[in-house]
């Protein structure tokens, strides 16, 4: 039976259809999550063409792995976890170093951020984001751009929920530090 409301099917249903061999479900998943995954991958490897290449691999892995998807996590989380593993492998292969940044730059979480936003334009905040350690920036992105819950972030990154929490707070403190709000400010 042709179902032309297919695009409203839930992600798990699509994965089940994929597992049954319906390649068209992959198109829907790709349309739904592709751009977000690509953005994530560009952030991870810093190169658009390479990210696109990895994304194709990710989709291939989704195709191959659909049958083993258990539904313990959301499909988005599952795909992000696949993307993350592929990106790490690629980075290791190419010896891309993670950004190193001194955590001492972090400000105590006391001064209001909007004070410095008045001093620094929003572009500066974006620039500061780019200077965060990779794991912190990635955590922020998983929470705010990919809309993952704390446990989901933990699952994708392979860390504990407590670490997610501390990374979020450290990231905020470090952003303040980078933007010039110091504890003594």
């Amino acid at each position: 039976m042709t179902d032309w409301t297919i695009s409203t099917e839930s992600d798990p249903t699509l994965v089940a259809r994929l597992a049954a061999g319906e390649t068209q479900a992959l198109d829907v998943l790709y349309a739904r999550h592709g751009l977000a995954l690509l953005g994530y991958l560009v952030g991870q490897v810093g190169d658009q063409a390479l990210a696109e290449e990895i994304l194709q691999d990710v989709m291939l892995a989704v195709w191959h792995g659909a049958g083993s998807f258990r539904g313990d996590s959301s499909v988005r989380t599952w795909m992000l976890a696949i993307a993350r593993r592929r990106a790490i492998t690629e980075r290791q292969r190419r010896s891309v170093d993670a950004v190193a940044l001194d955590d001492d730059l972090a400000a105590n979480d006391t001064g209001p951020l909007d004070v410095l936003i008045q001093r620094a334009e929003r572009d500066d905040l974006r620039a500061a984001l780019r200077r965060l350690p990779d794991d912190q920036r990635e955590t922020l992105e998983l929470v705010f751009y990919h809309d993952l819950s704390g446990p989901e972030v933990a699952e994708v990154m392979g860390i504990s929920p407590g670490t997610v929490k501390s990374r979020l707070h450290r990231a905020k403190a470090l952003l303040k530090g980078l933007l010039g709000v110091r504890t003594d400010a």
Partner: protein, 701 residues
């Protein structure tokens, strides 16, 4: 306890906190100043993170089809390709396509060269404040044939078939013009394909069969034949217009049966040439058509267990499944079919007799989903239950409002899914009602329509009947000054409307109350424009409630009357003047529209208004005030470059001034802002084809 809530703030801002925790946190926030500060910090960070992440990519490349042999041989489902065709068929459904009234357009954009006659439309998709003009009371057959000043292809560019075609449609069938937009498609006069309706068919299957994916054809079929495409009488003759359009498959001249790719049809062989990839294989197979049906790619790859990512081995043979797709070109292939192998590991080289093409196959039929009515009543208060509140991301009020309204029907995606299509560029300031309507009708399985000139009572009636409504409103926040915004109406009582506001909140999921008059004051800043989201099965209910508003022209006239009343009360009411310009523009009185816009702009309006409403551009354009169009566009672009419509209108004016390179640049910039903004895509195509010409200049032969 405070720390507990503080830890949840990031997820609250991200919109991922469960509803019960969200409500509890909102209660805590009311009294916790520290949390309010931290909330604001997280909001700033969220905006930056989203802007940063989404700025990295704005375009998703096509998915390459390399899915061979998972767990051994996989025989593709016969239905999967057909389903793909159907789901990618961009059918625009809804009341816009159901009406039998016709309308024409008096506004021109490019010069007509040939004796083009019938102008098809994208207009149902193109914005309200545009300049369409209802053409009532005229003989539709002559109205439709009146030469219009629109773009057309010189005959040499016309890929029209030479196939002898049936005669013209019955004399009593009106050959009508169906509104228009900046870009029109011309139809050759009186060339049609005759089709006899078979059991179970609807207009969708006819259009699919005809081999195009252009939704305007359905409207045209309906108009030509004056039929209700929901209930076609078996045996009736339907006249399918022959045309061409930028979509190459539209040029297919003859009515072709829809045939799913069917393994039983056997295979065609293709000998791989040096340098070939799968695309070449398909192109060769599709008789050098300049397009490729990507749904075939995966079948070919699976059939052959090859990866088309890499160059194919020259001299090897690729087997292409037989049958045809919605695109009729594949019917032309006549190679020797090879039967589907029982065992994929066996060489597939047994030649058998060519199987005849089956006469027909059951066309896909749309399936209406279950009707959703989840309404609570408490005293005089009615609420739609089950709408999932979301806080908007950066610049994301349109997709978020749409996502909330769709959640009433079980749509479980987040705002970023709709945003991917509606505003691929996160900085895009403006998502228009027509874009949102188009998105719903194309991608969600539900329907939407939008109307202008509504009343608060009408909106309340809609909500009461179980229809979520999105209203375009002005938002005067002290922080950001005036902004265009969308609110989702999810409830009402005798004195108020209740809204979910992606920016201001949900009021503990009870809906934020706005007194009728206050709501109207914000709503009229967008000419009382509203979008209704509805399930296909409830179209009749919706018609009943909309009453006269079923016809969008009624809404335009209502908007005009409203503006006149308001101006009579206060001649300095700039909003009323602007609305009047918009209503007049849509109704076709361009001269008066431009005068009203002049008055409104002279009285002064928030500068951001032109981020969302583009009527002045079109009105000035129609009057040949190209310098004004460009000056107005530049004044907006000084504030922000992220509005595709502004670049578009600037490009259109530049075309008229003969500055094609600059125009092309504007259109390309529009596409950088929103790659899905198809008016700019079409404009570029017309320039590249050399047929976009200033008014009054004849094209070269």
């Amino acid at each position: 306890m405070h720390e507990y809530w503080e830890d949840r703030l990031p997820y609250y801002v991200a919109g991922t906190l469960p509803p019960d925790e969200r409500s509890a946190l909102e209660r805590h926030l009311r009294t916790c100043l520290l949390c309010q500060d931290k909330l604001h910090e997280w909001q700033l960070i969220t905006h930056a993170v989203r802007a940063e992440a989404s700025s990295r990519v704005s375009f998703l490349p096509p998915l390459k089809r390399v899915y061979p042999s998972r767990n051994g041989w996989h025989k593709p489902e016969n239905s999967s390709v057909e389903e793909h065709i159907v789901t990618t068929f961009e059918l625009t459904r809804g009341l816009e396509l159901r009406r039998n009234t016709t309308s024409s357009r008096t506004l021109s954009f490019f010069t007509l060269a040939a004796a083009a006659v019938i102008v098809i439309v994208f207009a149902a998709l193109i914005i309200t404040p545009g300049g369409s003009h209802k053409n009532t009371g005229e003989d539709p057959s002559s109205a439709g044939l009146a030469a219009q000043a629109t773009a057309t292809l010189p005959p040499t560019n016309t890929p029209l078939p030479s196939t002898a075609l049936p005669t013209q449609p019955p004399a009593d069938s009106p050959v009508s013009q169906v509104t228009a937009t900046p870009f029109a498609i011309t139809l050759e006069p009186q060339r049609y394909v005759e089709h006899t309706v078979v059991a179970g068919e609807d207009c969708l299957s006819i259009a699919v069969m005809y081999g195009n994916t252009d939704p305007s054809v359905i409207e045209l079929i309906e108009t030509f034949n004056e039929v209700d495409c929901d209930a076609l009488p078996v045996g009736a003759k339907i006249w399918v217009p022959v045309s061409f359009s930028p979509a190459p498959d539209f040029a297919t001249p003859t009515a072709l049966p829809v045939l799913p790719l069917n393994a039983n049809e056997g295979f065609l062989e293709y000998l791989v040439q040096p340098g070939d990839d799968c695309l070449d294989v398909l192109a060769a197979y599709s008789q050098n058509q300049p397009w490729v049906d990507w749904s075939l790619m995966s079948v070919i790859e699976q059939t052959n267990q090859v990866s088309c990512l890499y160059p194919l081995t020259p001299g090897s043979v690729i087997l292409i499944p037989g049958g045809t797709s919605a695109a009729g070109a594949y019917l032309e292939a006549t190679a020797t079919p090879i039967p589907w192998p029982e065992n994929p590991n066996e060489p597939m080289n047994t030649t058998v007799e060519a199987a005849p093409v089956p006469a027909n196959a059951a066309p896909p039929t749309p399936v209406a989903g279950p009707v959703t009515l989840n309404i609570s009543q408490d005293g005089d208060t009615t609420r739609l239950e089950g709408i999932r509140y979301e806080q908007q991301g950066w610049n994301n009020q349109g997709p978020t409002a749409l996502t909330m309204a769709l959640s009433y029907y079980g749509w479980d995606q987040k705002q970023d899914v709709a945003a991917q299509w509606l505003k691929p560029n996160i900085e895009d300031k403006s998502v228009n009602p027509w874009q949102m309507t188009y998105y719903v009708n194309t991608y969600t399985g539900n329907n939407a329509l939008y109307r202008m000139g509504g009343t608060v009572d009408l909106l309340k009636s809609l909500v009461e009947a179980g229809f979520p409504v999105i209203a375009a409103v002005g938002l005067d926040s002290s922080e950001d000054e005036w902004l265009g915004h969308y609110q989702v109406l999810m409830g009402r009582d005798d004195d108020n409307v209740l809204v979910y506001d992606s920016y201001l909140g949900s009021n503990d999921d009870q809906g934020r109350p706005y007194a009728d008059a206050d709501f109207d004051a914000a709503w009229r800043q967008f000419n009382r424009t509203f979008i209704v989201i509805y399930e296909p099965g409830r179209e009749k209910d919706l018609r009943t409630i909309l009453g006269e508003y079923v016809d969008p022209w009624y809404g335009y006239n209502a908007a005009l009357e409203q503006s006149r009343d308001e101006i009579a009360e206060n001649a300095e009411d700039q909003w009323a003047w602007f609305n009047q310009g918009t209503a007049l523009g849509v109704l076709g009185d361009v001269q008066e529209a431009a005068a009203a816009y002049d008055k409104a702009l002279e009285l002064g309006l928030p500068y951001r208004l032109l981020w969302y409403q583009f009527g002045p551009f079109e009105a000035y354009y129609q009057l040949g005030r190209y310098d004004d169009v460009i000056a107005l566009a530049d004044s907006v672009l000084d504030d922000t470059i992220y509005i595709e419509e502004i670049h578009y209108w600037k490009g259109m004016a530049l075309v008229q001034q003969g500055k094609f390179d600059a125009a092309l640049e504007s259109f390309q910039t529009a596409l950088q802002m929103n790659a899905n903004y198809f008016p700019a895509q079409q404009a570029i195509q017309l320039i590249e084809w050399g047929i976009a010409l200033p008014d009054g200049i004849e094209p070269l032969d």
